[in-house]
Assembly symmetry: C2
């Protein structure tokens, strides 16, 4: 089944101890789309400026991502510059220029309005609601990603949209911030009271925890021996997860568990090189191989 | 098969945001012994002062721990006072009084000198070597635990004893500190060059990573909804691991993986209440039940 993603598209500058890369294709919707397109057809909604090169649009098309919902506006594309600490465990934002993304008004093309699976990438909660308002057929499954900024400054709007989603993706700090619970299981249960049936806590290099009415599920991250750039790993995780769920057209807890492993494996590829290139060059057979390796590494049965 | 442990025995004061408990039975050898005794007979070598109550010695005996190697010296028992941050993620040492442990000279009773499985609890590396010198029959499997202090101040002696052990237990920070590698897999491989065939990196609430010539293995920690006191969790993990290996009398990689899960589950009980009491009251059937639960929570197959 097809999958709609609404989120940011950016030019990223990524700086590590040893390297700096400018003008990489980035943004939550880019990472998500490339990851999800390995599983299922993706409909993309986002905004870029007139400076966005056709070459980048071709990248989406090459992966079968539908860009009917991509708005090209007068002005410049969202720019983000992040710098990683030497041990890669901390990231500092050097510069954020929202540009056309600052006035983004997500318009869902008619042909997308019945997409059964929906991912609301990290963004203003009121706009996430606006996306759902435009769906003429109620989606089968809606997942939402958010961040500390919205928890802090847009809590009422966030609580509104949370009532309308099936799954929430957030990281461990955000789960604590949203609920006031330090314990992540307790935080997850508290979030379930706010609406989502499934809470997926992303713990970066420490894996993920799923809290749902049908039980808990935990997984470590795929252990990488070489690690270049974690930018977009969370969105790649979301893309692998949602892509798998949409492809299976099933949201049972068993499918959710497998989807978490797929998200984990897809995100591991993202970390192996800068930007979206590892995802763009990825073949499904390579995911399957790493999945077998992961089972080998992490499972005794 | 029986298992020898040499390590510290202490009176602990443990302080959290909401509680303080004084004069708990503590020390690496206590946690280790109670955990391992759930699997196999344990021979304990340690030192206490004249102030050490018979009641505490009875605790060891109740769990079938042999205390022939327990030295009772003129003076006071080792005392340690730790205080946890509100979120339990940081621990500050308020006070350490080594007392009789400061001049500890581990003497291995003749009846222990052929114990096939040996655990050298965290302590001065030269004393860990001295334990091995006294083994008249070469042990089948020796594991060692260490800490940042010895990596920093006793590196040559630590490197000496590492050449003589099969497995090293250490936490993620210590692995980085010992090797200079930030990546834990690379750190593990570097440690293997120093002697141990198996490196077990303890990541606390994030589980454990095993690096060995036969492959890698990762596991999350058992997710706990209520969490009281993580003191001794690492030693309980070691005790569960070594107890299992000694009971199976097998050190194949398959057994090592299962031992890691047993260590993980045993350590989870330690965190549920203060001090060693959760381990002392633990029944093997309860471990088995939680092991089934863990497989359910963490494994898709």
């Amino acid at each position: 089944m097809s999958l709609l993603v609404v989120g940011s598209i950016a030019f990223d500058t990524i700086q590590t101890e040893s390297e700096i890369r400018h003008n990489l294709l980035g943004g939550s919707a880019s990472y998500f789309s490339f990851a999800a397109s390995l599983y299922t057809p993706v409909n993309l909604v986002g905004v870029v400026g007139k400076d966005f090169p056709q070459e980048f649009i071709d990248h989406y098309h090459n992966k079968g991502v539908d860009t009917q919902g991509l708005q090209i506006k007068e002005g410049e594309t969202f720019r983000w510059w992040g710098k990683y600490s030497r041990d890669m465990n901390h990231r500092e934002t050097i510069e954020t220029k929202l540009n056309v993304f600052g006035t983004f008004d997500p318009i869902i093309p008619e042909s997308y309005q019945s997409t059964p699976y929906v991912f609301l990438g990290n963004g203003l909660p009121s706009l996430q609601s606006k996306v759902l308002d435009q769906m003429t057929t109620p989606p089968k499954f809606v997942a939402l990603d958010t961040m500390n900024l919205w928890i802090d400054t847009q809590r009422p709007a966030l609580l509104d949209v949370l009532k309308r989603v099936n799954a929430l993706f957030l990281n461990d700090e955000e789960a604590r911030m949203l609920t006031g619970h330090n314990n992540l299981i307790q935080a997850g249960r508290k979030i379930m009271e706010l609406g989502p049936e499934i809470v997926i806590v992303k713990k970066g290099e420490h894996g993920a925890l799923v809290v749902s009415g049908e039980g808990l599920f935990i997984t470590p991250a795929f252990p990488l021996e070489s690690f270049s750039d974690p930018t977009g790993a969370g969105d790649s995780f979301g893309g692998g997860f949602m892509g798998f769920v949409a492809r299976e057209d099933n949201t049972s807890f068993d499918t959710v568990k497998k989807a978490v492993l797929h998200g984990t494996v897809v995100a591991s590829f993202t970390c192996e090189a800068f930007g979206t290139s590892p995802l763009e060059n990825l073949k499904y057979e390579t995911i399957e191989k790493r999945m077998d390796q992961f089972i080998q590494l992490a499972y005794v049965c």
